[in-house]
Amino acid sequence: MGLFGFRKQKSGAIAKDRLQLVLFQDRMNTSPEMLEMLKSDIIKVIASYIDIDEDELDISIGGNTDTGEEGPALMANIPIKGWKRR
């Protein structure tokens, strides 16, 4: 939404999310490309066990709010189509 429209998130919270991500990348000495490579490797590993919906999956780095621990967390939302028979 535009500057005068309705917004879900206040800019302070957006700044914090961006800060966490940029510091994570700085500290890990990684680049956005490396994050993409990490994602594709994770998909590769999981896909060999589970039939996943690659179009719907979402892997991102954000605040680790669920566990209450400090620092960012790697969060993956991977819809499962079914188990693979091995």
């Binding site: 302070g12 700044a15 940029v22």
Partner: protein, 265 residues
């Protein structure tokens, strides 16, 4: 033996020089003997912020080159007798001084003063290495912006790599009105990501602009909120047990209106 503190930030324009001048003045007002060293060779500013630009005879590079003795180059502050400035050279560049020379210079002053505070240039190159070489502790100045905090994080890493263990944050230019509305990074947001302890918070305050225009310091103004914050920071440098001054986040439009109405009623 003087305590040697470097004031640094990585990013430029976040208030390093203003912080250095105000903390120095507050320590001097508290009876401490203080030397401020402007390590920003080629882009000196601390002299102007303190209103001492017309009194410079010798500078840091001339001291290092042996043209004069360190004490000859010290400029006494206008207001505080026990506050001294060693100005940076304006016509040389950062490579005119080495970290070893800075250590030697600071060592030659350390016996005679309580605090030596070094104003670090922006960036992480030679000037930064010079400024931190002699420091025992560091104050990292940041503003509540992603770019500033990011650079502060990098600086903390470099300070730790240089074996400076006492690193404290000054969060400068907080806007309580924006913070209250959720439109600015809060102190908690910043300390969540930067794993360093907080020395103090300073509100964004127009008295900083006004005092700096005149070549004076905000700590000398009793009504300045930023001045009060810097006085508190100086107290916390001397004594860790002094509680941190809290910035009143409620001091907004509604509170002012409430005050007005309650006066009338």
């Amino acid at each position: 033996m003087a305590e040697v503190i470097v004031v640094t930030s990585g990013k430029g324009g976040v208030g390093k020089t203003t912080t250095t001048a105000n903390i120095g003045a507050a320590l001097a007002a508290d009876g401490k003997s203080v030397v401020l060293i402007d390590a920003d060779i080629g882009l000196r500013n601390l002299d102007v912020v303190m209103g001492l630009e017309n009194r410079i005879v010798y500078d840091l590079v001339q001291v290092v080159e042996g043209i004069c003795r360190p004490k000859q180059a010290l400029i006494r502050d206008k207001r505080y007798d026990n506050l001294n400035l060693l100005a940076a050279a304006q016509t040389k560049d950062k490579n005119a001084v080495s970290p070893e020379q800075m250590v030697k210079l600071v060592g030659s002053l350390a016996d005679d003063y309580d605090y030596i505070i070094i104003d670090c240039p922006a960036g992480i190159e030679q000037g930064f290495q010079n400024a931190i070489a002699a420091a025992h502790r560091a104050i990292v100045v940041a503003t509540p912006e992603v770019s500033s905090v990011r650079d502060a994080d990098r600086i903390v890493g470099l300070l730790e790599a240089a074996n400076i263990k006492d690193i404290r944050l000054v969060l400068n230019r907080i806007r309580p009105d924006l913070t209250r509305r959720g439109e600015m990074l809060t102190l908690e947001d910043v300390t969540d990501v930067l794993a360093i302890s907080v020395l103090g918070v300073v509100p964004d305050d127009e008295t900083i602009v006004m005092t700096t225009n005149r070549g004076e310091v905000a700590v000398a103004e009793s009504g300045s909120k930023a001045g009060a914050a810097f006085r508190n920071i100086a107290q916390r440098i001397v004594n860790e047990n002094v509680p941190m001054l809290q910035i009143d986040l409620e001091e907004g439009f509604f509170k002012r209106m409430k005050k007005k109405f309650s006066k009338k009623g």
